[in-house]
């Protein structure tokens, strides 16, 4: 089920919130069970076949985690159980997500003609796999223990984070699910959760979805873009992605807050970052945290010398890129970020920091260029767009892509109106990206009386009207 769907907003969400608090008056356990059941329903709505994969993964991890917690409590640290658990998770992820990638590469390298298996990718598998790997490691270290199957199912499948994060830790969720005080309806949380949901919905359906046609059109003709076309293509996608993903996260956090659960923040105005390290503290924060704690640090982190540390920057981000998808474009994108971290580290040694505005500009341009690689169907397409962006094909200012040619040569009133509207959304997105307060700040600080409630009501109504354009969230494919 999509957050940006009528079924979710008008039926599922109100029913779950009301049902949860009504049941919680009777039994905390029953309320958690209800929430877990609702989450499974939410997941199965899309494709019920995937539910069995999710449940299978949850069941195996629950039993492995149970064993690890019991051993840790008894002072035994049996590494092989942890390794087996992680291998199971990576095997599951590898089978569903990477099998065809490996077959295609074997075919390319050896000249073989092995058929692709075309395995359907279960939604959210990358997210629930990472969440559970983190849980197993924490259980092995004795930092997490979960003996209730219902609670474990709820922890993994809690619908606000299930499909596209944030990637959560057992220790930050279970105390909240267990706290009886949080089982009582809190009007302020409900109000601020709704406010955050409205902002996220608006970011998704009013901004990201309206920029998508431009981004898609530009990438579809990567090899025929003028200088101006290429910049529009790149910036349209850069804006689409951040409003899509952070809009989803705002909705997730808002929905969770309605039932008194605080999920970790995942975005904090990332394009205002002054260097690539700051960027990863603001962009997909819970993934950065996972990669740091469960990849970079276990591989040695900064404990084994500078050269090892710098190499690990690249390796960790290459793995992060590969997690996004089974394509070399993602690996290159991750590697670019790893290399950028290395460059930053070396630059800092020179002791010549850039003025903040220049640093922000350089970081934004790098992130944007890397996102072209991230989005492009192939490395050749990415190269063609970036070459046009850099002016290697000249500095032709003319607009040629049909999706926005109406700005200069409209074929009809409709085309001109549509293109001007998209341009206005584009401008709004750029302004919002660089304004100091993000959606989370606004929802946290908004005055809960007077005019703001009408403004948020109008925003919700506008979001509902534009829902009909419903599209999937970009991060659902990862």
């Amino acid at each position: 089920m999509l957050f940006n769907s009528y079924a979710f907003v008008l039926a599922f969400l109100p029913a779950v919130v009301l049902g949860y608090f009504a049941i919680a008056r009777l039994s905390a356990f029953a309320a958690n069970a209800f929430l877990a059941g609702a989450s499974l329903f939410f997941y199965a709505w899309w494709k019920v076949d995937f539910l069995w994969i999710l449940l299978g993964s949850v069941a195996v991890n629950y039993f492995v985690g149970h064993r690890l917690s019991r051993d840790a409590a008894a002072g035994r640290n049996e590494r092989w159980v942890l390794v087996a658990g992680i291998a199971f998770n990576l095997g599951l992820l590898g089978y569903f997500k990477y099998t065809d990638f490996f077959i295609a590469n074997v075919n390319a390298v050896t000249g073989a003609n092995l058929p692709l298996l075309r395995i359907a990718l279960p939604l959210g598998i990358s997210f629930f796999t990472f969440t559970q790997i983190a849980y197993l490691v924490d259980a092995w270290k004795g930092k997490a223990a979960e003996y209730s199957a219902t609670n474990y199912v709820l922890f993994v499948t809690f619908f606000p984070h299930l499909l596209a994060g944030p990637i959560i830790h057992h220790r930050e969720m279970m105390p909240q699910f267990a706290d009886p005080k949080l089982k009582r309806l809190d009007w302020e949380n409900l109000a601020r959760g709704l406010a955050l949901f409205c902002l996220g919905l608006a970011k998704k359906v009013l901004i990201a979805d309206n920029l998508a046609p431009w981004a898609n059109a530009g990438f579809a003709q990567a090899h025929a873009l003028t200088f101006a076309d290429a910049w529009i293509t790149m910036l349209a996608y850069v804006m689409q992605l951040v409003f899509d993903f952070s809009g989803y996260t705002d909705m997730a956090l808002g929905v969770a807050l309605m039932v008194n659960i605080r999920l970790p923040i995942n975005f904090d105005a990332p394009y205002r970052s002054a260097d690539i390290q700051e960027f990863w503290r603001r962009w997909h924060i819970t993934l950065s945290r996972f990669l740091r704690d469960y990849v970079y640090v276990p591989l040695g982190g900064n404990r084994k010398g500078e050269a090892r540390m710098l190499a690990l920057f690249v390796v960790t981000f290459a793995i992060g890129g590969f997690w996004h998808g089974a394509a070399w474009t993602y690996v290159i994108w991750g590697t670019m970020h790893g290399v950028a971290l290395v460059v930053l580290h070396l630059w800092r040694k020179l002791g010549r920091p850039l003025p903040r505005i220049a640093a922000v500009a350089v970081t934004f341009l790098f992130v944007s260029a890397a996102l072209v690689v991230f989005r492009a169907p192939s490395l050749a397409d990415a190269g063609a767009i970036l070459a046009s962006v850099a002016g290697l094909h000249g500095f032709d200012p003319s607009l040629t892509v049909p999706a926005w040619i109406g700005l200069v040569h409209p074929a009809s009133v409709a085309e001109r109106a549509a293109d001007i509207a998209t341009l206005a959304v584009f401008a709004l997105a750029l302004v919002l990206t660089f304004t100091p307060r993000n959606a989370h700040d606004i929802a946290r600080d908004v005055r809960l009386e007077g005019l703001p409630r009408y403004a948020f009501g109008a925003l919700l109504a506008l979001g509902l009207v534009f829902i009909e354009n419903a599209s999937e969230f970009i991060y659902f494919i990862f």
């Binding site: 009528y6 008008l10 409630r453």
Partner: protein, 375 residues
């Protein structure tokens, strides 16, 4: 405070949403609730899948013409003149078998028409049986008369945009207004050989239309899921399936992409499969050299002029080009020969060398007296 904020947000959202719903129900831009009476009808070419089901429910007719864009230039008046009765044309650009099945289900239930004339476009049977030819999600809620699932229609951005345009008398969206030619598009198009091959790469004839590959099993599944049940459920309706003509370039494209065998096999299979139904007949214009090989009839490799549309209707009315087993075999053999023995580069070069007609007034293609049918 939280409670008052919540109440304020929900009340405001509800009030605005109610206003939007009421406006859309009143204007009814896609004719879902009624035949237009309050405002002149607007036929939105880009939203045929949204508008056709309402038209099918509320208009009067006893014959349906449907199919892909190849059928959109058939004028109901021409059909009525040739065959009698009261025809409606519910064709849709890039219509798939799924689109057709869903639409015909509505039309058959609403009006029990005596005849359905539908072209069988091979590409309409590609992909999954529930594949729609429209990029947007298929608006299934417009294909029934249940109110509870109409939220996307009553609250959605497209309906709202079109309602506002209608109320303000704006002409921003593209639409036609003539109920007698709702989806007619030929005006403004030119039909001659050099135009038909414009931008074509003879080495990759599919580059522009990017039609997906098909399998016989996939096409069969699509037919069984979408059309076979209608044929069985409505024995009183004659299903006249038309193999509308393509230019020779399409057959060369099929050969180029390894799609020739599957196309011919589907024709044979379908003929056998439907033999048991007395309410099914086929007309085949695809092996008529005068149409297929003369690129002056086309504006691109697929789309022929209204002259051909009119001639097809006349031929069907007279029972010419009706498929028999012998004709099917002969036509298949001819198509195979043409597709495998003709050089695409030569066809394209010849077409480019042919002079454009001096007068390109496309209205000349629909003269009141009609045309001689192809021989």
């Amino acid at each position: 405070m939280g409670r008052s904020f919540l109440a304020g947000v929900l009340a405001t959202a509800l009030a605005i949403a109610a206003l939007v719903c009421a406006t859309n129900a009143w204007v009814d831009p896609f004719q879902h609730y009624r035949k237009p009476a309050r405002f002149p009808p607007r036929y939105y070419n880009a939203w045929q899948r949204y508008e056709n089901p309402g038209i099918a429910m509320h208009y009067e007719y006893d014959r349906v013409v449907t199919g892909s864009s190849l059928m959109e230039n058939i004028l109901p008046a021409d059909v009525d003149r040739a065959m009698g009765g009261h025809t409606i044309n519910l064709s849709e650009s890039a219509q798939t078998a799924y689109d057709a099945g869903e639409l015909l289900r509505v039309a058959l239930a609403a009006r029990h028409p005596k005849q359905v004339i539908m072209n069988l476009d091979y590409n309409a049977f590609s992909g999954a049986p529930d594949r729609s030819g429209f990029a947007e999600p298929f608006p299934a809620y417009l294909y029934d008369d249940a109110l509870w699932n109409d939220v996307p229609y009553l609250l959605g951005v497209e309906s709202t945009r079109k309602s506002i345009e209608t109320l303000l008398g704006l002409r921003i969206s593209r639409f036609g207004t003539d109920p007698s030619r709702m989806w007619y598009w030929a005006e403004g198009y030119q039909f001659f050989a050099a135009k038909a091959v414009q931008g074509l790469d003879p080495r990759d004839l599919n580059a522009r239309f990017r039609q997906p590959p098909r399998t016989l099993e996939g096409m069969q599944r699509s037919f069984e899921a979408n059309l076979a049940p209608l044929i069985q459920d409505y024995p009183g309706t004659r299903f006249t399936f038309v193999y509308a003509p393509y230019s020779i370039l399409v057959w060369l494209d099929f050969a180029q992409r390894g799609q020739l065998d599957v196309s011919l096999a589907f024709r044979d299979w379908l003929y056998e499969r439907t033999k048991r139904y007395p309410n099914v007949e086929f007309f085949d214009f695809q092996a008529e050299p005068a149409i297929v090989e003369d690129l002056d009839h086309y504006t691109d490799m697929y789309h022929y002029s209204p002259r051909i549309s009119k001639a097809m209707i006349a031929a069907i009315a007279e029972g010419r080009y009706r498929l028999t087993p012998a004709l099917l075999a002969g036509n298949d053999a001819w198509l195979r020969k043409v597709a495998t023995r003709t050089d695409p580069a030569q066809v394209v070069a010849d077409a480019r060398a042919r002079p454009a007609p001096e007068k390109l007034d496309t209205k000349a293609f629909i003269p009141p007296g009609g045309y001689a049918p192809p021989q």
